[in-house]
Every structure is written in C-alpha cells, then in structure tokens.
Symmetry: C2
Subunit: 510 residues, 2 copies
Amino acid sequence: MRPTLIAVLFVVFSVSTSEAQDAAMAAADTYRQAHEQQILEEVFDFLALPNNAADRDDILVNAEHIVALLEARGAEARILEAGDSLPAVYGEILTPGATRTVMFYAHYDGQPALPENWTYPPFEPVMLSGRIDAGGEPVDWQGNDTVDPDWRIYARSASDDKSPIVALLTAIDALRAANIPLGVNIKFFFEGEEEAGSPNMHTMLEAHRGLLTADFWVLADGPVDPRGDPRIVLGVRGVTSMQLTVHGASRDLHSGHYGNVAPNPGARLAHLIASMRAPDGRVLINGFYDGVPAPSDAALALTESGAYDEDGLVSEPGIAGVEWGPGASYGEAVMVPALNVLGLSSGGVGDATRNAIPASATAAIGFRMVPGQTIPRIREQVTAHVESQGYLILDRPPTADERLAHPRIAEIHWSTSGYPAAVTQAEHPDVIRLTDLVASTSDRPVRVVPILGGSLPLAPIVDVLDVPFAIVPMVNPDNAQHAPDENLRVGHLWDGIRLYAVLMADDWED
Amino acid sequence: MRPTLIAVLFVVFSVSTSEAQDAAMAAADTYRQAHEQQILEEVFDFLALPNNAADRDDILVNAEHIVALLEARGAEARILEAGDSLPAVYGEILTPGATRTVMFYAHYDGQPALPENWTYPPFEPVMLSGRIDAGGEPVDWQGNDTVDPDWRIYARSASDDKSPIVALLTAIDALRAANIPLGVNIKFFFEGEEEAGSPNMHTMLEAHRGLLTADFWVLADGPVDPRGDPRIVLGVRGVTSMQLTVHGASRDLHSGHYGNVAPNPGARLAHLIASMRAPDGRVLINGFYDGVPAPSDAALALTESGAYDEDGLVSEPGIAGVEWGPGASYGEAVMVPALNVLGLSSGGVGDATRNAIPASATAAIGFRMVPGQTIPRIREQVTAHVESQGYLILDRPPTADERLAHPRIAEIHWSTSGYPAAVTQAEHPDVIRLTDLVASTSDRPVRVVPILGGSLPLAPIVDVLDVPFAIVPMVNPDNAQHAPDENLRVGHLWDGIRLYAVLMADDWED
C-alpha cells in the first residue's frame, strides 16, 4: 500500500484517505469472497453473447443485456445513439452530497473471432486451470468451493473489454453490501464500436454532451503494466498516414539504356524521405514541431521513475538502443511525434529484381502526433515540404503532358482514418489524487504513463468535453487481446473490483 | 553514298576506296538478284532448326548445320568448346596477300519461344507480305519471280541472330561470283549461348586464343539505328547488382509503441541510398569515378552529331529531361557509369499498409559500369561506403547477439552474374576505316555510337585478346527480338549482304 515514487513527489497535494480506501478494499474483498460464483456467472453469461461490431443485432443484444445489469443496480440506464453509430449504453447513479462526477468508460464490442483459430469456441466461455500454453485444463468452477485466482477465463472480450464492466458493477454491489456510500456521482459509458475505431465518438459526445460530461473520465480498458504493476495511462499519440508516390517515366525502362537518363523514382523517393526525417527520427519538415510543447517536468519525472518497462521494450525485440537520441529513454522517444516509414515498394527485389528503372516508387508513411499537432496542419506541412523539393503534387497519376512539363512529380494520398493525440497533464490534481488512490490498492509501484506511443481515439473527451481522463486498467498483460484464445486471469478480476471500489468510494475532492 | 558527319571529321585518315566499295556492292546486288530464292531457302532451312540454348542437342544440330554451310564456301570450319560451354562454330578463309584479319561474330542460339504466344509457330518460318500488326499475310515467295523487300520472315532468330550468318556467307558467294578477291583474312566465330549470357566467352577466348584473335572483331548482331540509319556501336557498359537490406528490430513492431524507439529500416535505407547517389545521378561513393576517363573528344563529337536518337529516346517514355545534368544529352548520360535503384521493398504500401515498423527494408541496386571500373572494385567501394555510414555488414541475417551489439546492420548480396564494360576508342584508325566503309553502303548518315547504355558480355574481346571491336548490325529495329513474332524485313537482309561484302572486300589497311 505504499505510494509510488511519483505520488511521493506530489504528496503535498494529496489528502490522506488511507482509512476510507482500506474500508473500500475490505468491502470489495469480503463481498467478492462471498459471491465468487455469482460474479463469475455474470461474467460467463456476458461473454456468451457474440459481440463483433460488424453485427448490429448481436451488439444490440449486448447493449440490452448491459442495460439490465445497470438497472439491477438501480442505475438509470439507457441506450444512446448518434448519427449511424452502434448503440452505446449510458448509466448514472447520483450520490447525495457528492460534489464531483466520475465517468467510467468501457466497451462491450470485441474483435472478430474465427472459431477455427481458437482452442475453445470464442463465445462459449470456459474456465481453465491456467494458461493454455502452460497446460491449463478445464476446471469445474461451479462445483468448487474455492476459486483459484490463477484460473483463467477463455473467451472473446474476457479481458478486452467485458470483464471491466462486471468489475465496475460488482464494485457498487460490494460498497453497498458494506454500507459504504459512493463518494462521487457515477456515470457509465459503455461503447459498442471501439474495435471498429470509435468512428462516432466525436458525434456521440457532441450529441449527448450533457449526459457524457463529468469531472473526470476513467477508462477501464487495456492491461496493467507488462511488469504486473498497476498502471495509469494519461494519454495517447494521434495517428495519420499517407501514400507518397514518386513518378518517373511513363513505363519501366531498361536500366542500361536509361540509367542516368530517366529519373530514378526509388532514388528520388529516398532523397525525399531523407529530407523529411533525420537518422535519429527527428522530423525535418518545416514547422513540424511548432506548437508542440516540450515534455513537462512531471511527465519526465514519471518516465524517469519507470513509467515504461524500458529494458523489456527495447531489448526484447532485438534493438541495440533507442533511435531517438542521443541517450533518450523509451519514454522520451514516445513523448515526441514520430514519422514512420511503414512501407516501401518499387520494381522488384531479390528474385524479382529486373534490370529496369521502375516507373514509380511508393512509400507508406505514418505519423504519430502529440498534443499541439493536427492532421490538417501535418498535411499542409508535408505538402509544402514536398513542393519545396521541386515536386508537382497530384492526387492521381500524371497525364502525358504533365510528365513532359514537370521534371518532378509526386502523388500523395492521405488516409481517411486517423485522429489527433489526447493527453491529460501529469500535474493535474485529479491525476495526483487518482495515482494516490490506485497506489493504495497494491503493494507494487503504480506505473503512471504520461503518454502511450500508440493511438486511441480519445481526443473527443478533451476536444468536445474538455474533461481530463486516464486509462485505469485491470486485466492481465498476457490476455491475448485481439488474438485467438483471449483470456482473463481471475485474480485480476478480483483486483479490478477492489480498484474500482476504491475509485468510487473516494470523494475526488482536492 | 555520302560520308557521315563523323567520317568527315576524320577524313584525313581515311583512304578513298569508293571504287572498290562500289564494285563490292554491285557484286552483292547482282548475285542477290540472281539468287533470291536460294538465299531465302538457306535462311528458311536454318530458321527451322530450334535453337534454345537450354537444349544442347538442338544447339548441336545448329552448329553442325553451320559447319556444313561454311564448308560449302570452302572455309575451314570446326566446332569449338571450352569448359562446359555449348558448341561454338569457328571458320576461316585465308586470303593470299592480305595483311590483316577480320573476325566476324554472330550467334546462332535464340531466346526461348513459347509457341502459344506466337501468331505462327516460331520454328516454322513464314514469309508475310508485311508486319503482322499492319495486316501482313502469308505470301508464296517460292512461286514468285520477284521478292518484295518489305516482305518479312517470321521465326525465332530471324533477326537475332541467324540471318546475319546467312548474309555473311552470301557476301562471300557474291564476291566470288564477281571475281572480287577478299581484302582480308576472314574468321568466323558463331556462338551458341549468347542468349544464355555468354557464360563461357572468357574461357573460350583463352582456350582458343590463337584461332580467335584478329586485327578487328565485327559483331553482326542487333538492329540498325531506330531512325533506320546504319549503325556502328563501339562499346557497351558493364553491369553488376546487389541486394542491400537494412535490418531493424527482430520482428515488425507496432508503429505507435515503437515510433522513434525502434530503428526504422525504410528511413535508414533511404538515407543510405541518398548518401550513395545525388539527385542528378552522380554517385557519391568514395572512389567510384577513380580510373574512369572523361569521355573523349571523339566520343563527344559522335554524340553531338546524332549518335543517339535523343528526342525519341527521351520524350517517348514521358521524361521531362535527362536526369544527368545540367543540360546533358542522352549520349553524355550513358557515357558515364550509373547507379540505378531497381527495386525497393519494406512492409506494405497501399492496401497492404500496416501500422507497423518493418523489421527490414531491401533495395535492389544495379550498377552500369564504364571502362576503368571493375566489379571487385565496385564491391569494395560500396562496402567501404556502407561501413562509413556506421553499418556492420553481413552476408546473412544478424544473430540475436549481433542485433543487440550493433545499432546499424546491413546485409549485402552481390549478383553472381555481371561483367565489365568493353569499349573501342572512337579515334581508333580501324573505326575510322569501318565508318567510311559503312557510310559507302548507304545514303543515310551512319550513327556511330561510342557506347551503348546497355550491357553485353564483350569484355573478353578486349581483356583476353586485346582486339578492338565494333557491332555492325543489319536487321530492322522493329524486329521484336526476344519477343513473340520475331521477324526480319527482307530488304534488311539484302542490305546486310551488301554491307558485309564491302567489309570483306576491303583490305582494312590504313
């Protein structure tokens, strides 16, 4: 129950609430021990409902199931839609005397699951004695007096992201059973199209702004730290991408008769890429870092205190050192925007090599953005950069006349998907409070991640609602999310009930 | 019969032999007119013999057929082999009083031919009234008194390269019929594996140096100038290639979680390519141009006088201007060595784009060399250059330990094929003489090409025998060599007989 290093840094801001937290945890543990079979039944029933976001009927069954679960807790619950979105489930429990409101987010849709790739059918949840690849076998959990926390539930969405919904609702049950009042007004927003990229999140938050606003959003999604420690994630990078094609002659040409004569699209593309990105990852495009604030002291302090599993992340995939340099940590590297060459294609290599100068060369280039950057501005900057290298820019192949009139022609197509970054400041008082609360639930250090290198479409929480948020996960890191044989370690479900009970019992007042 | 521009430049060196040349041409024309059926029968019989170099038995049938053709002209003829080469045919006719010896080269093997892609079977030669794509239909050439020079013979190797063999032998027949003595000792070397890349040319010339040496080699191969003018080609660029792979992490990594963290192989490869080749084609590798002489005044003069069809070569494939610059002509661009990016491959582009940093990126890079460059030295220079960019160079993928110990790792594989350049100096007195002789056979300008951009394995003629050479072609440019429906325009065969008769009647003395 010791506070993390970072929590120590900010201990002057935090209110000592250890007694209340201990009571909430005790309530969670007591209730859970007395109702393990019932809790697991709720999990199993929920996991038996197929939930591919591509099937609206299945999604609706899930949504109605959740409405019933919420109503069983006396929550006011309803289905929300916006535009052509799939149904989301909204619920709220007002707390007399509470001054603050916390939104708990999770999603109930799951990645597609091909049964032939699974050991057990993805929508027939099964309890195993351990990981399948460690010899786990089915166990009769309903006929057993005690449930081993190392048992695992195998099913699609066991971890991503149905079990957090059950943990949240069970936390309410547990507090009520112990007569511990909720410390805040609680809202729930359970999304049904997260795995489809949350295409309507912006519209949804705009359409139901009054219901969906809160003082803080807690996102119950994703796994805890890979080292097994509790984790709080304060942000995600944004993402966009482009296809950049350099055109040469109108057809492939003999590399002897045309070497030094025809433009070489592969070499030109290489020069373009080299002009955009230094060997250490620094982006050389004019204005790229404009409006991008330097990482805050608080964020850097989190990084230095072990927010990221530096050693595991770097050495495991055979990397001699972090590219961003010199001497940067993993954390420093993902706190800045990135330009990634995702693909290159021109002519043929290996056995497909021909003595020909290809007519064109294409790069797929991805951008990971941080707050302060927008997709429209990235597009403008890239366009201006490529033009500054002497290129005519088209959004289609050049005509014969254009080829003869312009020595350098590039074709650019931007991805229609993508979204900006979303970050809550590490110094935010609610983050300090949240860190303290999470720290109270574990004797392991809380890993507070200032920003994930990856991307999630969380920007509307900030851009539409202007609400701070944090991802506060509960599930095991080895849960195989998005893959066959997704699973949940039962002990992580128990810990999740305790974690969310603590967050709900607190008054979140500074 | 006017001399070319270039011949004019060197007219002081050339001996006026126009009377002798007129006599040789008249002999060729007279003989041909009287023996058109017989000449064409010889062509048709020869083309009916399948000649894919992959079939040794078929090749041997061809070789023995040629030996018989040579012996019918009283030439001493024999089959030559060297190492595991396919048979080559050697023949010689000594000329009393001649001081010089000219070797006439051609090859009798052909590219593979898939009958299903041909309009008529490739080894059942047929005479058509014109080009197939212009409505040419079979004609009864054997039952016709006159043969139209625009008729075309369709068969594999009609142009590449059996008809020049018949033209050479017919030229001898014609001179004899007119009692015009040969002016030189004549040797013939008819190769049987040119389309397989002449893999044993070096060994062959070393093994039979005494037979195969001469004062000059005339290569009867390839088409005349695309503008329809007579052509003399004085050299070819050499060729070699490499596969260059930059390794990153041991597997593809999430572009969000690893953007700026994992090395980006595509971006690194771009920097490597950009470090090797300037945007105008100039090679930046240390020492690359060492030992490469500047183009001679004579070669530049040939280029300026229209050696290459500048307009057609550049504008036809949609090129706004020659890459080598500034203001370089096509000829200047191919007279210098070239580094060509033939292929790029990394991850995926377009629909295959994934949000992943690929584990590696590969470029196929080709080099076109000029005299003064060797493949071993190119390899050394490239290796030193890549090392100078901080790379460990391997000829296999790195081990796990190597990945962690070396931040930059490149894997290089060199092509096992390839050969150096071969060029005869434009100022060589025999070239002046030859140009004059060829010019005397046509009222069109002779296009003397100092060097072809493409490559042929001719280096052994220079490196082993130290003999000057020139390619002196006769066939039509639209012959579809290497492709289905290869053909020969009959008028070009008639011109070829005249051309080679002139070369044989001359004494080649300065």
